[in-house]
């Protein structure tokens, strides 16, 4: 990551915090996104992704910390037409056809893209003449994506852009997002799918319970959170010994059972059997993103501040 000054950074935040009542949605986010970068904000539902995105868009005002978008306040950046956004939720206004809606929203921006081109690229050309209230959930999501794309803004902020969209639709959307990135635009998208983040972003910012827990290229993050878990019964062993084994990232004990989160289960299993012949009931399974987050943040029990739930496609819980 290149060193970027506040003036030239796409987004720059320091010590960002935001609470809603007693819920600490964001607690201390420092982030610099360079122009032209494609960054995924990855985290489970309730991690603070949407609140962070809302702050970047000027929809939420942080309680503490600073945030600059192209050197200006988020509101100024949005008003200047530098930012195109797709929010996580929000239905479309009725009594309007798809093409009219995209055209209307595009017209607010200083240098919008050609509407037909955008409709083609987002797979909405065939529904361009439909009323916006007669669309399926997936179609409406595509239309909202098309509207964001039509802005031709320098920074595109997309909150869960593929939520509720079928596999083919997802592919089209990511293709369009990569095309935008190739034209030198800055793209920030929030997702709770590791695979989507890894496949489409230069860089993944992992966020859990309102904090950044990891930040780096996809391969690095994948090694951390794409981990697998080894469970075994192994009484009376020091957790520190287990943590020292090759391929093991962390270890926890539940009675006689131990759980190891591993970056390399082959190495870990070999070492485990080698060092502890008494080990039994060994079980290997893929860790979910949530478990990986818990491991990374070193806290087994999610606290009240940010609930961590199972991620499932189409889940539209505010993040």
């Amino acid at each position: 990551m290149a060193v970027v000054s506040a003036e030239t950074a796409g987004i720059r935040t320091t010590g960002l915090t935001k609470s809603y009542g007693s819920v600490h949605a964001v607690r201390g986010i420092d982030l610099v996104i360079a122009p032209g970068e494609t960054v995924a904000l990855l985290g489970p539902n309730g991690a603070g992704k949407t609140t962070t995105v809302d702050i970047f868009l000027g929809l939420a005002r942080p309680d503490g910390g600073t945030v600059f978008v192209f050197g200006a306040s988020p509101t100024e950046a949005v008003r200047s037409g530098w930012v195109g956004a797709m929010l996580q939720s929000g239905s479309l206004p009725d009594h309007l056809r798809v093409r009219e809606l995209v055209t209307l929203l595009a017209s607010y921006y200083p240098h919008p893209r050609r509407v037909d081109e955008v409709l083609d690229q987002t797979g909405t050309a065939d529904i361009a003449g439909r009323w916006t209230n007669k669309l399926s959930g997936g179609q409406a999501q595509r239309v909202r994506f098309a509207a964001a794309l039509a802005s031709n803004a320098d920074l595109l902020i997309l909150d869960e852009p593929t939520a509720g969209i079928d596999v083919e639709g997802r592919r089209e959307i990511w293709r369009a997002i990569r095309a935008v990135a190739e034209r030198g635009k800055t793209v920030l998208f929030a997702t709770h799918y590791l695979e989507e983040a890894d496949a489409n972003a230069d860089r993944i910012v992992l966020i859990a319970r309102g904090e950044i827990v990891a930040d780096g290229p996809g391969s690095e993050i994948k090694a951390k959170v794409g981990s697998r878990t080894v469970k075994a019964t192994l009484p009376g062993v020091e957790l520190a010994e287990l943590r020292a084994l090759p391929g093991v990232l962390g270890a926890e004990r539940h009675g006689e059972a131990v759980t190891l989160s591993c970056s390399d289960t082959d190495a870990a299993l070999g070492a485990l059997f080698g060092s502890f012949p008494a080990v039994r009931d060994v079980e290997v399974r893929g860790a979910s993103l949530e478990e990986a987050f818990l491991e990374l943040t070193g806290d087994e029990h999610g606290d009240q501040d940010a609930k961590v739930e199972a991620s499932r496609p189409g889940n539209e819980e505010p993040g």
Binding site: I55, R61, G90, S91, S107, Y108
Partner: protein, 250 residues
């Protein structure tokens, strides 16, 4: 300015393509007018000032403007805020205030044909005869002074959630209509209700129109009350908007 014009055109276009909206806004005042007109004889007077037929026409113009404002701005704004459309607009370069201003302008624009239609019914069925200049003056007066209704609509849209918007809007329509003396002359009401009517914008709106026709001059009280409502509601909207911006609620 260009985005604002595009947005205003889009707003009015959307309103006019909404059948439900048109039927309610145009249907209510026209049907009420016909019903109330009933068997009122052409020359029948109310307390020696205006004829029933003129009174009903002006009252239904007021009622129509009120209904248009409350449904065009109130119910729809509330729905758009709840559905997230208002939030989506906030992340475009469209200035935040222009959304509010456009709502006021759009509801003013849809009031005009409603007022006009009631007047046409007044000529066709109510047997109201006025000179061309009086028609123009009456229409202009009723339209311009309906601004507090538009403000009330936007205010309701800001305050009320979509689920409760319909009963609130309907309730307000009939409270302001009935107690404002739009369905029955205030002079026929008990003393306490007459006093109450004088605090309502609907009463003063119709009163201005009737004042123009009975040539008794404009009551300064009418202007003051309507201006007061406009300012108070405008201020309430601005404060509400500001506090939402600060708290970060769209």
């Amino acid at each position: 300015m260009r985005p604002l014009v595009a947005f205003a055109r889009f707003e009015v276009g959307r309103l006019l393509s909404s059948w439900k909206f048109l039927i309610i806004t145009i249907g209510f005042p026209v049907i009420f007018y016909m019903l109330f007109l009933g068997d009122r004889r052409p020359g029948e007077m109310i307390a020696g000032t205006v004829t029933w037929r003129v009174y009903l026409m002006v009252s239904m113009c007021s009622f129509g403007a009120l209904v248009a404002a409350l449904t065009a701005a109130g119910a729809r704004l509330s729905g758009e805020r709840s559905s997230g459309w208002a939030r989506q607009l906030r992340v475009t370069p469209l200035p935040a205030w222009s959304y509010v201003v456009t709502k006021v302008v759009a509801s003013m624009l849809v009031m005009l044909p409603v007022i006009g239609l009631v007047e046409i019914v007044g000529v066709g069925f109510g047997g109201v005869h006025l000179g061309l200049q009086t028609w123009l003056e009456l229409t202009g007066l009723l339209w311009v002074t309906a601004l507090p209704f538009a403000m009330l609509g936007v205010f309701i849209g800001f305050m009320v959630h979509a689920e409760t918007a319909f009963p609130v809007v309907t309730g307000l329509m009939f409270v302001l209509g009935y107690f404002g003396g739009l369905f029955n002359p205030v002079s026929s009401m008990p003393r306490a209700l007459q006093v109450a009517a004088h605090s309502l914008p609907s009463f003063h709106h119709a009163s201005l129109g009737l004042g123009l026709l009975d040539r008794q001059g404009f009551a300064i009280e009418d202007w003051l009350v309507l201006a007061g409502y406009t300012l108070a509601l405008g201020l309430a909207i601005v404060l509400r908007h500001r506090s939402e911006e600060t708290r970060g609620i769209a």
